[in-house]
Structures are given as C-alpha cells and as structure tokens.
C-alpha cells in the first residue's frame, strides 16, 4: 500500500505507524486521516502484528490538528463531515483488536491530542508539548476530545486545558494523568519499543479481550461489565485448553 503521509513497518510483532508529512508538523489533513484508517486496517489484519505503536517521525511533532488554511473556509456542513471522518478513525483505533500505544515524541496539539487519547496508552518523551488550541481559534474540538479529555484528566483539568488553549509540558501532562509514562529523550525510542514488544509477546486473544473489556467498562454498569468479563474469561480459557 503506497502511503504519502506515513510509514508503516512491523518488527518483533510490533507494528509501527510513523506519521511523516514531510514537514515540521504532521497535520491531520483529510488525506492523512484516510491513510491512518488504511494503515490501522492493514495492521489489524496482519497476523505478524500483536501491538501497534503510533508516532510522529522524524520531525518535531507527533501530530497537530487540522490544516487551519483549509479549515478557515469550512462551512458548518464541511465541519460536520470532517468531524465524522476524524471520529470514524478514532472509533477504528478503539475497536482495533490490538493494543495501540501513542508514542508522543514532540508537539501534540488539538486533533493530535485527540488522536493520542484514542490510543490505549500514551508514552511521551521530555520533548512533549501538549495542548488544545480550539478556544484560541474560536472552535471546540470535533474529534471526541470533549468526552475523552475529562475522563482521562478529570473535568477541571480538561476545562483548564480547553479554556486557556495553553501548551503544557511533559511533567505537567504526567501530573494530570494525560500521559502514562515519561522517558528521557535519549531513552525514548528504546523504551517505547521495549514496552511495545513486551506487550506483543503476550497472547493476542487475551490482549484483545482485555482491551474490549476495559473500553466497555466506561459505558456499562458494573453488573453487565462483570457478566461480559465472565463470558470472555470462560471463552478464552476454553480456547487455550483446546
């Protein structure tokens, strides 16, 4: 599959999707979003891949939001369809049967922040600069961020991030719970690969079931969630013993 905005490769059971728009910033343009959808579909189907790492490479950014030059001319109808396209990508990442790790190597703004939040975990280097500049641009985010950010960092920190449109450091992101792990710059790529490979060494059936269950826990009441867990555990156990 020829990609223009990203590279894709699998090494030691880890599939890497590296955004590379060919400039300092990886903008989430319509083309990039469509390529990401293809890349995730490809790695979800690939039997050699058990976990996925999404990152920006080799520029300074993981990903920034949409192309403002394009967006300034959007009609409400264009915006509606753009949000639908972005949301369908994020839905695909969440329903991808493999763990997806966002490796945040630099600037992660707006839609890029939402992209990172649709992954299962976020690992960052000290270079991380993260924020949501919607209020500075006169908009809110349309990529599920208004739902995800408050659930990850709490409503109050989410409101501060949205209202100020400020850029936050890796340390601040760690304190708020927006990232799960933080590495020094020289240890970052090694740390990411090591962690992703360790996860990928586990049976995929158990990883997939875990991802589905934990995602379901957000929208299900406890009793239904437990019922789901019981059925999945029974099923997996039967699979391994036959």
């Amino acid at each position: 599959m020829p990609y223009k905005k990203l590279h894709i490769e699998t090494r030691n059971r880890v599939g890497y999707i590296l955004l590379d728009a060919g400039s300092r910033f990886n903008k989430l343009s319509i083309t990039t979003i469509r390529e990401l959808k293809l890349a995730f579909a490809q790695l979800a189907a690939d039997v050699e891949t058990s976990s996925v790492v999404l990152s920006g490479y080799p520029g300074e950014s993981f990903a920034v939001g949409a192309d403002i030059g394009q967006m300034v001319h959007f009609s409400p109808n264009d915006a509606f369809h753009f949000a639908e396209l972005g949301q369908s990508l994020f839905d695909q990442i969440e329903s991808c049967p493999k763990p997806v790790i966002a490796a945040l190597n630099g600037i992660t703004m707006g839609g890029g922040c939402d992209l990172a939040m649709s992954c299962d975990m976020r690992i960052a280097s000290e270079n991380l600069r993260i924020g949501h500049s919607g209020a500075k641009l006169g908009i809110i985010t349309g990529f599920c961020g208004t739902h995800k950010l408050p659930h990850i960092v709490g409503k109050n920190h989410a409101r501060e991030i949205f209202m100020t449109s400020d850029i936050f450091s890796a340390g601040e992101a760690l304190h708020m719970g927006l990232i799960d792990r933080l590495y020094r710059e020289d240890e970052f790529w090694g740390g990411v690969s090591c962690f992703a490979e360790r996860i990928a060494s586990h049976p995929l059936t158990a990883l997939s079931a875990t991802k589905r269950l934990v995602n379901a826990s957000e929208d299900t009441d406890l009793r239904t969630g437990c019922l789901l867990e019981r059925e999945m555990a029974t099923h997996i156990n039967a699979t391994h013993n036959n």
Partner: protein, 255 residues
C-alpha cells in the same frame, strides 16, 4: 445583611470578583440566596467576561452548621443549593474558585461547581460535617466523586478529615498551587488570559464537556460533532483562524 455574605467587585478588564467569606451566624439558606442573587446579576451582564470566586483568606462560604430542621426543610434547602450550583455552572462565563483559607462543607460545594479550583498553600479542604451526621447537599458528593474518583471521595466523606493544599493538589482536587499572597493576583492574570480566548468556544465547550461527561461515548461524540459544526457559523471561528494565519492576536466577540 446578605450583601456582606457575598460582595461583588467588577474590574475594568471584564472580570468580576465575587468575595464570599460568609458568616458563621448566617444560615446555609441565607448564604445560598445571597449567592443566587449575585449569579443572576452577573449572568445578565454582557460586559462581565469571567468570574473569580474567592474567600479573601478568611474562609470560604462560612455559615452555621446547625442543621436541626425537618426533613421537608432539608429537602427544600438541598433543592435550593443544587439549583444555585447548576446556575453557577451554566453561567456561560469562565469561573475559577481561588481559595486561600478554609474551604469546607458548603464552601467546597461551591468551589466544586466552578470550572476549576486554585489555591494558595494556606488553603484547606474537606467535608467535616460527617461528625454531626451531615453529608453534602448541593451536589458535592457527585461532583467530588467525578473529579477525584470514588475511593478518595469516600475517604474524605467518611473521615471528615481536612486536607491541606499540597495534598489537594496531589489528588487533583485543585489545578494550581500558589505561594501565599500571590493566589489572587496570579489567578486574575490566568482568568484575564482565558478571557482573550473565544467566549463562544469556551461556552459551547463547557456545555459539551458537562453534558457529554455523563452520557455514553457515542452519544457524547455526536453531540460534540454537532457543536463543532455550529462553531463554523460563528464570527469567532472566522476571526480566530484568520488571526492565526495572519500571526496576530484575535479580537473575539463571543458570537
């Protein structure tokens, strides 16, 4: 006099400072009514862009805690309290609680209804009412659990313990911790900074965050998608993006 429970000062930069020390001889109902009047006043003023709620260092929203009343009166008081908190939450203007002294009981309930809380190192937080058999009644148990998680909320509510500002920051009850004597000025700067952003986006974003939090993700994302599209019919969107492209500061109108 209710005005002394809750005073308002409007600054030239569009920021209203609501000082609510309360008064130990006032009843919770009197305090809530005073607060309600001020919120109604502020909501109608277009020139007020942001709100600071503060205690002036001597305790936030203090009132007497004698709650010997009938079940019916307690329900009426709780109705009033919850309505006032919803009104505060829906003012449509950014609202920060700045705490320098004791913020307990009703004070913590009011602070929790603000967009977020900041404090100086001298501040303290908690719900000590449990010793007298009291629980939060303005939505505080629900807002606190959503903010810091169920376990921490139960720990605070069961024990009645008062925690200091450092601990409140660690458990993410407060967003920022300031050195003593600097909280009010630094928060005013922060709010002034927020007020340079699009009031339209802040208002819509706040509503989508609040409404989306308690519904399932799919429904919340649909709501967000529609609200996002609505932004593209606003003056603020055109101005904000054009200003970004022109590398200048945006002049928002909030429409």
């Amino acid at each position: 006099m209710p005005e002394k429970l809750c005073t308002i000062q409007t600054k030239t930069d569009g920021i209203a400072v609501l000082t609510i020390p309360g008064n130990k001889s006032a009843s919770p109902g009197e305090l809530l009514e005073a607060l309600q009047r001020q919120i109604s006043f502020i909501s109608g003023k277009h020139e007020i862009k942001g709100l600071l709620l503060t205690d002036s260092g001597c305790g936030f929203c203090q009132c007497h805690t004698d709650m010997s009343m009938s079940g019916h009166d307690a329900a009426t008081l709780s109705d009033l309290g919850q309505q006032v908190m919803f009104r505060l939450e829906k003012s449509g203007k950014p609202c920060i609680a700045v705490i320098e002294g004791e913020c307990t009981g009703l004070g913590l309930e009011v602070a929790l209804a603000c967009d977020f809380i900041v404090a100086s190192r001298s501040a303290s937080f908690g719900f000590p009412g449990i010793a007298a058999g009291l629980i939060p009644f303005c939505g505080g148990s629900q807002r606190l659990a959503r903010l810091i998680g169920k376990s921490k909320t139960k720990e605070l509510l069961y024990s009645g313990d008062i925690i200091d500002a450092g601990e409140a920051h660690r458990i993410r009850l407060i967003n920022r911790l300031y050195d003593q004597g600097h909280a009010l000025t630094q928060t005013e700067e922060l709010l002034t900074h927020i007020c340079t952003r699009s009031p339209h986006a802040i208002r819509i974003g706040g509503e989508v965050v609040n409404t989306g939090y308690d519904i399932d993700m799919q429904a919340a994302c649909m709501l967000e998608r529609d609200a996002f599209a609505l932004c593209f019919s606003s003056f603020d969107q055109r101005e904000g993006m054009q200003a970004f492209l022109d590398k200048r500061a945006a002049q928002f109108k909030g429409e």
